[in-house]
Symmetry: C2
Subunit: 393 residues, 2 copies
Amino acid sequence: MKIDSVDFFYLSMPEVTLEADGSQDALLVRVAAGGLVGYGECEAAPLPSIAAFVCPMSHGACQPVSASVMGHTLNGPEDIAAIAADVAYNSMDVLQAAHTFSGIEMALWDILGKARGEPVWKLLAYKASYPKTPYASLLFGDDAQQTLSRARQAMREGFKAVKFGWGPIGRGTPKQDADHFLAAREAIGADGILLVDVGQIFIADVERAALRLDALQAARAMWLEEPFHADALEAYGALAQRCTGLKLAGGEGAHNAYMARHLIDYGKVGFVQIDCGRIGGIGPAKQVADYAVERGVTYVNHTFTSHLALSASLQPFAGLKDHAICEYPAAPKALAVQLTGNHLERDASGEVNAPDAPGLGITINAQAVQRYRVDIEIRVGGKTLYTSPQFRV
Amino acid sequence: MKIDSVDFFYLSMPEVTLEADGSQDALLVRVAAGGLVGYGECEAAPLPSIAAFVCPMSHGACQPVSASVMGHTLNGPEDIAAIAADVAYNSMDVLQAAHTFSGIEMALWDILGKARGEPVWKLLAYKASYPKTPYASLLFGDDAQQTLSRARQAMREGFKAVKFGWGPIGRGTPKQDADHFLAAREAIGADGILLVDVGQIFIADVERAALRLDALQAARAMWLEEPFHADALEAYGALAQRCTGLKLAGGEGAHNAYMARHLIDYGKVGFVQIDCGRIGGIGPAKQVADYAVERGVTYVNHTFTSHLALSASLQPFAGLKDHAICEYPAAPKALAVQLTGNHLERDASGEVNAPDAPGLGITINAQAVQRYRVDIEIRVGGKTLYTSPQFRV
């Protein structure tokens, strides 16, 4: 097969707020090769990501992502790796390139799986796929009471694990934060798994983060996620040393496998969380999963968008039985729900499985694409470099 | 002062080739505040960089760079740092943001220097600016003979140091590469400073890079630059251990100060090379310079574009007497030469100095902007988010 076309669809809710909710828009990628069509999703700013695909070349190491993708052969996983290497080299100076390529790469695996009639996790050499325990990924409430209600709602919906993130944490006093942590624990009961995500709020300030450790440990949080900037490895490492019965988690900011490995080696995280929509797709995520196994660190997906992204994010660790927790967007915006024709519903025991279907096993809902699409036109030097394409399934 | 406007000008040579020559286009940034105008330059892909400034918000941590810049107070260096922190946080998930902000940040320093009648290096708390020995930054020839001629030309032009980069190195045999290294040494004589840049060609393959060490050492190269991917810290560290009388150099890929520090701490480079047009501007570059001093590593600018970028890149280490080497684009394209009204010419002893003039001390040539400008128009959802502005000095 040869890659014939790559198209981007920017979808957005009518209103986008400052909430840390990544499901408010989406960048869907459709790739056609050998008569087959595959889909992927960039977890990224749509306009810069599209721009990085179509931009004029600045020089040999600053080429648009399209230059390394269009017309390339696609017959096996080794072709996907070769394209990824080309993008990394030819688009070395296009910072956005990794985000742009992430959705394309997923779509290439989807096509390859469809061509072979196999799920992507089998192409990744996993013999079996194991069920994952989904955690409801929620935002902290404005106050502890709201956090408590949201946690109760998740319990009513049958979740055994919840993660609270962002909101007011780190912006007020340690005591106020402690109230949120304890409210969440109260709501989920002694057996629930509690995870906390503070969205880089402490930047690189180990002491400010450390002021929250006692309360996190009292609330028996299993992990503290992203206390710091994605590259603040030393701060991660220093805080990790001060944790008792609590591990650090991070990695969603990794835009290549090196970064994720450094967070393991230098940042001493206990959980490495990879977003296939940012790290360059499923291939580099699988490399991180392999490395996590080697280093005794638990691999977890980062997913806050659609079930297309969720399926892609499950593939790299589908075959790792002991890496059993998975992020599951519990209250996504309508766009993220409607975007896919099918969903990875929890089974009778409340677990989630990577689809046992060709490719990523997810269909796209053309009506939703139509409903939420935002047209983009980019003209450079009098030429139209990009105009939103029509969507047909 | 308040930041009133930020404008981007995309300039390009009529023909852009695959050559690793970053002077083939430029992204000039003009900022107005308090009745003053400042200029900066992103060393970045222009279209994605502009897109990251104007893109619609995806969520609270994926806001356009403009959201953290427009209307912000600008009265002192602390305001620049505050804006930088806002961009890092609010545009956390816009990968391109650091490249976009880099040119803006330079322009903010330029304005502040003009407002105070002081060069930027004084605002950075340096008491004096020391001359730098420029190296002619050249590309390897197609064959060793061409490399030799280019080195001879640089010597005729009075350079005491030359750097050769990219071209065929790493693509053929180690013997072919050795011929280039030795040809360069032959041309520059025993006293010339020879630097070699291989542009990430070995990705993360320490053994392939190591095959070139003997020849580099025989040619008495002072540094080997960017043997690997910007994030391949372990490969840097492993190769550094095998070098004798040769140090590794790298850092131009750093898009924040953390990355540069990791290259020092884990990659064991002896020279850290910062492009102010990528790392987020002059502020983070100064942090890296301070850290380099602390760690006994030599700070060097990375500059392959105009003398606006050159002036900006000199500021962070202008006051470091012992960090005396500076990259100097020796054969830039006409656009990069014509873009500025004045140039940082070498003095009688062949040295280069940061301007002792307010701000960055560089004027912009309106005719050149007019001559090389490429108009861009970006429309999203029926609204024009960006259209190339008119340029008036």
